[in-house]
C-alpha cells in the first residue's frame, strides 16, 4: 500500500513536469520579443545582445526551461508590470485563497445538498419526489451558471437584500463576513455539482441497495435509516469521490466565470485580466497553479481509495 502510494506520487511528479514544460512552451510561443519590449523602439545591436544575455535568452531552450523551473520552484515568479506586484505574492497569497475558499464552499454545498437529495431519490425511486429531483438536476446541469448568478444577485441581493451582491472579505481574517460574502457565489458555482452529485448518488445507491448485504443488514434487524445511511452510503463513497476528483477541473474552470460575475479577486479573475492585457507571465503562473491544484487533488483522491474500500488495502 505504501509502495503503491509512492508510485502514485512519482507519477504525479512526472505529470507536473510535463505540464510545466507545456506551460513554459506557451510563453515561448507567445508573440512579441521580451528583449525588444524592454528596450523600446530604438536600440543598438550590442545593447540587445547584452540584455538578451542578461535575461538568459541566448541560452538553448532546455537550459532556459531548467532556469525557469528552478525559479518557479523557489517562488521567484517575476513581477507583473500591469499590477506592479510580485506575481508569487499576487497569485499564491492573494488570488489562490479566494479561489480555494470559493471552490471548497461550493463543493461543501454540493455534497450537503446533492448527497441527501440523491439518497432520497434512490430510496423513493420512481416517486413524484424522484421525478422532481430529476427535473431539478437536469435544470441545474443545463442552466448556465453566470445567468443563475445574476438571478441570485437580483433576488437575494437586490430584491430581498439578504446577501451582499459583490466584494470580497477574506474568511481567514473575518470568518463570518467572509463566508457571508461567499454564499451567493458558492451557490451559483455549486448548482451544476449539486445536480451531478444528485444523479450520481441516486444511480450508485440504487445499485448498492440491491446487494445481498443490504438485505442481510435488514434481516438482522437494522432499522431502515441505518441500512440506507450507514450500509448504503458507505458503499457509494468511492465512486462519489472518484467522480468528484475528476470533476474538480470543471469546478476550477467554473470559478473563472463566477469570480467575474461576482467580481471576486481570485485566480479566475487574475487569469482573465492577464489574458486581456496579454501578460503571459501571469497567465503562465495561473495555469501552473491551477494544474498543480488539479493534479494534487487527484493524487489525494487516489491515495484515499484504500481508506474508502478495505478491499484495496494490502492483505
Amino acid at each position: 500500500m505504501i509502495l503503491r502510494g509512492l508510485v502514485r506520487i512519482g507519477q504525479t511528479l512526472v505529470v507536473l513536469l510535463i505540464v510545466s514544460f507545456a506551460t513554459f512552451g506557451l510563453l515561448k510561443l507567445a508573440p512579441g520579443d521580451p528583449v525588444q519590449l524592454a528596450l523600446g523602439a530604438e536600440y543598438s545591436e550590442t545593447a540587445y545582445r547584452s540584455l538578451q544575455r542578461e535575461m538568459g535568452l541566448d541560452q538553448p531552450f532546455l537550459v532556459q526551461y531548467l532556469a525557469w523551473a528552478r525559479d518557479f520552484a523557489t517562488g521567484d515568479w517575476g513581477r507583473s508590470y500591469v499590477a506592479r506586484t510580485d506575481i508569487f505574492t499576487f497569485a499564491v497569497l492573494e488570488a489562490l485563497p479566494v479561489t480555494l475558499t470559493l471552490a471548497s464552499l461550493s463543493l461543501f454545498f454540493a455534497i450537503l445538498i446533492g448527497v441527501p437529495l440523491g439518497v432520497l431519490s434512490a430510496v423513493k425511486k420512481d416517486s413524484i419526489f424522484d421525478a422532481g429531483a430529476a427535473v431539478f438536476a437536469l435544470t441545474g446541469t443545463a442552466f448556465p451558471s453566470f445567468l443563475l448568478g445574476i438571478l441570485l444577485i437580483w433576488l437575494f441581493g437586490v430584491k430581498l437584500g439578504l446577501f451582499p451582491v459583490m466584494g470580497y472579505v477574506s474568511p481567514w481574517q473575518d470568518p463570518v463576513t467572509g463566508l457571508y460574502h461567499m454564499v451567493l457565489p458558492a451557490l451559483t458555482l455549486s448548482t451544476y455539482f449539486i445536480a451531478m452529485i444528485t444523479r450520481l448518488t441516486r444511480a450508485t445507491l440504487i445499485e448498492v441497495l440491491e446487494q445481498p448485504y443490504i438485505a442481510a443488514a435488514r434481516a438482522r434487524g437494522e432499522p431502515r435509516w441505518r441500512v440506507i445511511w450507514v450500509h448504503g452510503v458507505r458503499n457509494i463513497a468511492m465512486p462519489l469521490v472518484t467522480i468528484l476528483g475528476l470533476q474538480l477541473g470543471t469546478l476550477l474552470q467554473g470559478t473563472v466565470l463566477t469570480e467575474t460575475v461576482f467580481s471576486l479577486p481570485g485566480l479566475g479573475q487574475m487569469i482573465t485580466d492577464a489574458v486581456l492585457s496579454r501578460e503571459y507571465v501571469v497567465v503562465q503562473a495561473g495555469v501552473m497553479l491551477t494544474a498543480t491544484l488539479f493534479i494534487t487533488i487527484n493524487l489525494l483522491v487516489d491515495l484515499s481509495y484504500p481508506f474508502l474500500d478495505p478491499r484495496l488495502r494490502a492483505r
Binding site: P212, R218, R220, G221, N235, P310, R311
Partner: protein, 318 residues
Amino acid sequence: MSSAALLEVEDLTLHRGGNRILDHVTLSLAPGETLALVGESGAGKSTIATALMGLLGPKDARIEGHARLEGQGELLGMPERRWSKLRGRRLSMIFQDAGSALNPCFTVGRQLVTVLRRNLGLSRTAARARALELFERVGINDAEARLSAYPHQLSGGMQQRVMVAIALACNPDLLFADEPTSALDVTIQAQIIRLILDETRTRGASCIFVLHDLALASQSCDRIVVLYAGQVVESGVTAEILEAPRHPYTAQLKSCVLEIGTRDLDPPEGSVGSYAAMPKGCRFARRCPRALPRCAEERPPLVPAPDGDRALACWNPL
C-alpha cells in the same frame, strides 16, 4: 395443525410482475423443529423465506394470505418498523453467499457487535466480549484477531460461520437458512450444516432450511415440504416422505438422488417452464407421468392425510 405451532403459514400467495410466484403455500412449524423447503431452483423456496422475513416490499411483490408467529400474531402486512423490531431478535436469516451478504466496508466484528448493541442493548465492552464468545462457539479460531478482519480477508467457510454467529446472536426463535452451503466446498458444507443444526438445537430454536438437495434435507431436517413452481405438492416427516413418496414429483426427486447418484436435484424431465404459462390446475401436470385429464384443469387441494402428520396435493397419487 397444532395450536402450539411457532409459525403457521396459510395460503401464502405472491404475485410479482403479473406472475403468481407462490400459489397458496401452507405450512406450519413447531417450536424447535427443523423444516426443509425442497424443490428445483425457481420453485419459490427462497421467496417464501424472504417474504416471511418481511424483506419484500409492496413494490417488489403483492403478497396475500396469512403468516402467524406465536406471540406476535399476523406478520404479513406489518409496517416496516415492526418488522425491523422482529428481525434479528425473533426471526433471522442466513444467506446463500456469505461473501456478498457481509458489508465489505465494515469489519465482521463491527457487524456482529452492532447487532448485539442495537438489538440487545449491550454496552460496547459487553458486546465485544459476547461477540468473541459467539465467534469461538461457531468455530472461528483466533477469534480475537478475526473480529477486526474485513469480510474479504476470510475464507468462504469462515464468512458463513460469521453469518451464523450474527444470525444467532440474539437467540432468535426461528432461523431461515437459505441454501447456506451452496457457495461452499463439499467438505465444508457438512460442517456448516452441522453447526447450524447444533446451534439451533441447543437454543431450542426452529429452523427453516431452503435446499435444492434432497439428500442433504433428509439428513438434517425433521420435516420436508416439497414445492413445485410455487405450489406445495407434498409435506410430512422426512422419513415417511422418503420411504413412501405419494406425489409423483416427490417420487421423481427421490429417484434422482437414488438412481443417478447425483446430489443435486436436476429437473426430472424438461424444466419448470414459464410462470406466465402455468396450467390452471396442478402446475406439475405437464411433466407428470401419471397426469389425468382433470389435473391441468382443476387444482388438487393440499389434503392432510388422516394417518399422521402428512399432507398431499394430487389427484392421482402413488
